[in-house]
Symmetry: C2
Subunit: 764 residues, 2 copies
């Protein structure tokens, strides 16, 4: 790529100027005529029957227009009448903070006053507050109405289902909403062949995505009741489908305008949009709902807490012989935890000749779990990478060598049966092995630091996409897309298109269009936008170039084979002066009586093979042996990115992921009490890592090109957020001998472990 | 087309429900945060130097934010410093009503008060008020600054230009801004060969497009100063280019959102948008300018007044031998009258073996002329069709037979050299000849009615276009376009796409997208949208169908040749049960891990041959011989439409055109006094035809298919507005013997002519 003017270059993000200068216009900044502000009335109980809602006083508050309950909303419901996938209760609140009504008012202040004036009569019900309660076969269902429905159904089926489940060796409890089971080989024989076995259980708390901009959505009512949904979403088309289905309108009558997203990290696929749409329809006026920070903690869709037990055996020679694991995810009040992907990753980083993985997802009276950048991967990786590290130590193996010896490569089988395609895990480990931070780790240790490493990987998503590349009247090009730009993808797309035209990214405009006009693209998540849409952009640009050359060929009376595009003009190779500018080509294709078709390149992809991305991280930590405070002081993030379209963006992505990983490792956790009350509903209580908590981060980009991505690019979003917690735990272990297994690793835990260690022999 | 489910059907217009129920959202209904309302300070003089503008009192008006003059606007200027194509004066007002300043205020009322408080010191200058003054070689230039520039230039060139023009037999006067000259054969010889010669001079006044919704534009300021232009425009992409060029920004930083248009008729290509954009940039806030009705009369862009002399000769056998004509158009204060097209049409309807056409466009101190549905055609047709009619009568020929004998057919030459392609003029005349209204014309005459006929034609515009046809998640299709729907074109496009999919138009959504995302299409004008974009839609639908069948082929394991699309599903011919719905196809092409590319059909056109459209009209009139009032009582409009995609829409178009033609014939005219002051600046003074003035209108659709348009369709917008004035004049002549030559034909003129006729022998 030595001659590249665009891809591989460090290019400033297209969206940087308006964001850095505070000029970006977010959803919450919008106003439309007739707008009503919505504020929620929230349940103070984690589980309660809503006996009655008295809105009369609230409606007397000047400016309050309506108080809506779920009965007023024309939205999809489940068999028990509860709204599907909308954070509003119907007769029964199933988590503390769930909405039981929406007050719509002319102003925010009036809405707030209205909320205070709504009187709700609750009857508290038993709460399923913890993962263990969720597993309890004797616990009530988290939803009383569902429990009744279940019992009726069970009676109808004569309890056949439970009997059958038992015969199949399945675990049955009222709140188990999903189970997975992957097995391969003979686990018992595998452990029998092991010289050393490690078994440990890790836990992690609920973690919030921590985006700067809370959930926000404005739904405008168009003529005839059509809806325009302005929202901070990662997935415009998915949101459109969900809103249309929820309110029961044809898809074509809903237009989603994807607004700039102030952070998503998986938490902004769809949450409040269908409910706000239904509210707008109910009153026939536009409605804006802006979550407060507390709303977002109480009624968001955070990453689930979980508990994972890992048993791992290996021979003295360092060959892993067996893996057994049990995973339990607390999915909150609605299913959809990343149980399956966690299990697949847990059993996927290494060659496990024998493995058995069992997992369960349980419902509790908490907000429903959502996706979080690399959903399930943080938890699974913390478990397996703690165990692998511990096993290497027990065997006396260098932890990096032990990983290199066992790590998965192309063709190795994943727990769910499919083989890995070409992946860069081994290359990342080898790059880390060569890195000064690893080679000189003894020097760090001599300075009183622990050195921990961990790997992490993400299978990578796939989803079809179309992109458009259009020549504009001034001879510049515009790429039109349906994908939301969370992390600079539009900048990368400008680079990809520019490369085709032998230009710089500055010459390319990129439009993310509303769903009524955009070419389809999937949601921005799963590390798939650059991988899938990028190739579509490349094809669209190539298609546009072909059309441009055809027009130039006619104008210059030369074969397209003899043409080249240089400095914004098509010229005949070797014939100076025989050239036509892109602006002149534009004028031949647009304008009254112009004679050539407009240049409108399109490209689509339906890549059927994902491009998994791997990372190997190293962290040096210092631990205050009195307070137990852990301080990461050096961080090396090695990642296989396939090809870095924009190295500056890739590194920024890695930096952000590393800091989120440190949040998981050391700071972040949503704590609920035994009544299901959230104790950490503000940023005073919930600790997000701040800039000064982040160590210097060194990035190493490994480029094992993907077969399908543009210029070899792979998804890069998820992997850097994965290994952090395990790397930190392994570094603490390296320094102190203590194996910390509960995330986040708070100073008091470390202090306790150090204290315990002084009264017992060290583990190695 | 017997099996068609879509094209050729009478389909309700997509936009009818929101318009008929008053729910449509027009530009003037929009509000955005921080919006300022603009109101103009207008010149009371048709020509004046602006010595000074004192805004101090206006700025004291509560709510007034800024008073902008052209000096504050960063817009393109000509050599003399005057803003190009913006209705705001720079130092010199050149028509009464021209803006000299814009008051920007928080409310409309404050802006109005501000306008009243701005003090402008004018120095009146000589006014060029009429066409004759415009022709005067000794008149001053309408623009003092230009006059100075011209004089300087003339001095520099040593008056060479004038000398050369004189040698070329060109007419030179300071305010002549354009001239045309077409000649063919030997005109003198032609007249010598004629047995009868008619010479007459017709005149018409300035006519306003008379749209319901006055000019309106809202420009919003996006982050970094990018512009979003919400406007009632017929031509989004053209408007974008013009705004960008005017304010000096890259095209990509201007996004034009084409709003529903409350009538355009040629008057809404671009007028106020660049100025409003410059105003918004000057204050850094969004600005809305809504013309009042009076603003629109004073500072719009109406159809120009003109004078046309026609001399026409023919043999006794009814063969036209020669045509000579002189056309003068008063283009107001900026060039761009339809002089050339008028000349081409005037000399194009018939085979003229010898012709000479000379035309001039003159500047006057009036608003600049704009396009009006069939620009130039009304005036030219009134002239030639009056002369042809008169000549036929003088020769004792049936006027219809005379026209049939001489009318142009495919291959006949036009004044500008090109030959007519296949046209339906003759077919229209033949259809009219067969119509009961013509066959039984003696019956009408016996009832005291005059029967007049006239033809009219429009060359038809061409402009490249691209269209998109996309499969949505619910299995329905969306057509995405850049063309503005003035008259139901989006409904026709839904029909065209539906036809390809064997559906009805209800199954197709149509989006007119903003310029930042839309495929290119030209402005909606020149009767070219259905003709050019329609074919692009057809191709896009066919492309989408091909993609759909490819997915179905894989899913059904059948060759695409064996597949058919019926009732929203692709099925294998002759294999009942082997089918896949479009919704299932959609799910295979969109969604996480879907395996096929999204269905995104595109189609482009660059049709190089226009599809001229012709009409033949018949009107029966009654004339009150005391008051002179003319009342049309029956109207037949025959038109070659190529193929009527939606006959109901086509007929509605024809109805509207006929009534506009009657406006030209009998009612409409903007009257200026000798100081250039408009005397008809309200709808109390300017007479638009009202519903009760319209006779019953019978339409006859002739279908001479075009080679290029979808299903043979041609442009149909312009032709029905063309023949009306001539048909009415010919009917009055038929009834009374009086030849009325000045539009509109007011009762007092008719009464005068009748009075004159009683004191002189009748003309035939």
């Amino acid at each position: 790529m030595a001659e590249s003017r665009a891809v591989g270059q460090r290019v400033r993000r297209i969206d940087a100027p308006q964001k850095l200068t505070g000029q970006e216009r977010f959803t919450g900044d919008l106003r439309v005529p007739g707008l009503l502000i919505a504020r929620p009335v929230t349940s103070p109980y984690a589980h309660a029957r809503v006996r009655s809602i008295d809105s009369s006083t609230a409606l007397d508050v000047p400016g309050v227009v309506r108080v809506l309950t779920s009965d007023d909303l024309s939205i999809a419901r489940d068999a028990a009448g509860a709204p599907v996938k909308a954070p509003i209760a119907s007769g029964e609140a199933v988590y503390a903070g769930q909405f039981v009504a929406l007050v719509l008012a002319e102003t925010d202040a009036a809405a707030q006053d209205g909320v205070a004036a709504v009187e709700v009569d609750y009857e508290p019900l038993p709460v399923v507050a913890t993962l263990d309660e969720g597993l309890d076969p004797n616990a009530p269902h988290i939803r009383e109405t569902r429990q009744q429905a279940n019992e009726e159904e069970a009676a109808m089926h004569n309890a056949d289902a439970a009997v059958q489940a038992e015969e199949n060796d399945e675990f049955v409890a009222p709140n188990v909403s999903n189970s997975v089971h992957f097995a391969r080989g003979d686990v018992a024989a595998g452990f029998a062949a092991a010289d050393e076995i490690v078994e440990l259980t890790v836990e992690s708390l609920t973690v919030h995505q921590g985006y700067l901009e809370p959930q926000v959505c404005l739904v405008d009512i168009e003529p005839l009741g059509d809806l325009t949904v302005y929202t901070s979403t990662q997935a415009a088309f998915y949101c459109r489908t969900r809103v249309a289905e929820t309110v029961g309108m044809p898809t074509q009558r809903v237009n989603v305008v994807p607004m700039p997203v102030g952070g998503g990290f998986g938490g902004k696929f769809v949450l409040i949009e269908p409910m706000v749409a239904a509210a707008a329809l109910a009153v026939g006026r536009p409605v804006l709902l802006r979550y407060s920070r507390m709303d977002d903690f109480l009624a968001g869709n955070p990453a689930p807490d979980c508990r994972i037990t890992v048993k791992l055996g290996a021979t003295k020679a360092g060959e892993i012989t067996a893996l057994e694991s049990r995973l339990v995810f607390d999915t909150g009040s609605s299913g959809g935890s990343p149980l399956q992907i966690a299990a697949i990753l847990l059993g996927g980083y290494y060659r496990f000749p024998n493995l058995e993985l069992r997992g369960h997802e349980v419902l509790t009276n908490k907000p429903g779990a959502g996706a979080y950048r690399a959903p399930g991967a943080q938890q699974a990786t913390f478990a397996i990478e703690s165990a692998v590290d511990e096993l290497a130590r027990k065997l006396g193996f260098d932890p990096l060598e032990f990983r290199l010896r066992n790590c998965a490569v192309e063709g190795d089988e994943r727990p769910n049966g499919g083989a890995w395609p070409r992946i860069g895990l081994k290359e990342c480990l080898e790059a880390l092995k060569d890195h000064p931070a690893w080679r000189e780790r003894e020097g760090a240790r001599a300075k009183g630091r622990g050195v921990g490493i961990a790997v992490g990987g993400w299978p990578g998503g796939i989803e079809p996409a179309t992109a458009v590349c259009r020549l504009d009247s001034n001879g510049k090009l515009t790429v039109v897309l349906g994908s939301v730009d969370l992390t600079g993808t539009n900048t990368a797309f400008a680079q990809i298109a520019a490369e085709t035209f032998n230009m710089t990214a500055d010459d390319i405009a990129v439009t993310t269009a509303p769903t009524d006009a955009a070419p389809f693209a999937g949601g921005t998540g799963g590390s798939k936008i650059t991988y899938t849409v990028g190739k579509a952009v490349q094809r669209a640009a190539e298609d546009a170039l072909k059309q441009i050359l055809a027009v130039a060929s006619e104008a210059l009376e030369a074969s397209t084979d003899d043409l080249e595009l240089v400095d914004g003009a098509v010229r005949v190779r070797g014939v100076p002066g025989s050239a036509i500018s892109l602006k002149d080509i534009a004028s031949r294709t647009m304008g009254f009586a112009a004679r050539n078709e407009p240049v409108y390149g399109t490209g689509s992809t339906a890549i059927r093979e994902s491009a998994p991305g791997f990372a190997a991280h190293l962290v040096e930590v210092e631990v205050d042996d009195v307070t137990g405070e852990t301080r990461p002081v050096r961080y090396v993030a090695v990642q296989d990115v396939g090809f870095a379209i924009n190295p500056a963006e890739v590194e920024a992505q890695i930096h952000g992921g590393v800091v989120q990983g440190l949040g998981w490792a050391l700071y972040e956790g949503m704590v609920y009490d035994s009544d299901g009350q959230l104790l950490t509903a503000t940023l005073m209580d919930y600790a997000l890592p701040r800039a000064e908590m982040a160590p210097a981060i060194e990035t190493v980009l490994v480029e094992v090109p993907s077969e399908h991505g543009a210029y070899g690019a792979k998804g890069i979003g998820e992997p850097p957020a994965i290994p952090g917690a395990a790397a930190v735990a392994n570094a603490i272990r390296d320094l102190t001998g203590a194996r910390l297994t509960s995330l986040p690793i708070r100073p008091e835990q470390v202090a306790r472990a150090l204290w315990d260690a002084t009264s017992a022999p060290a583990a190695d």
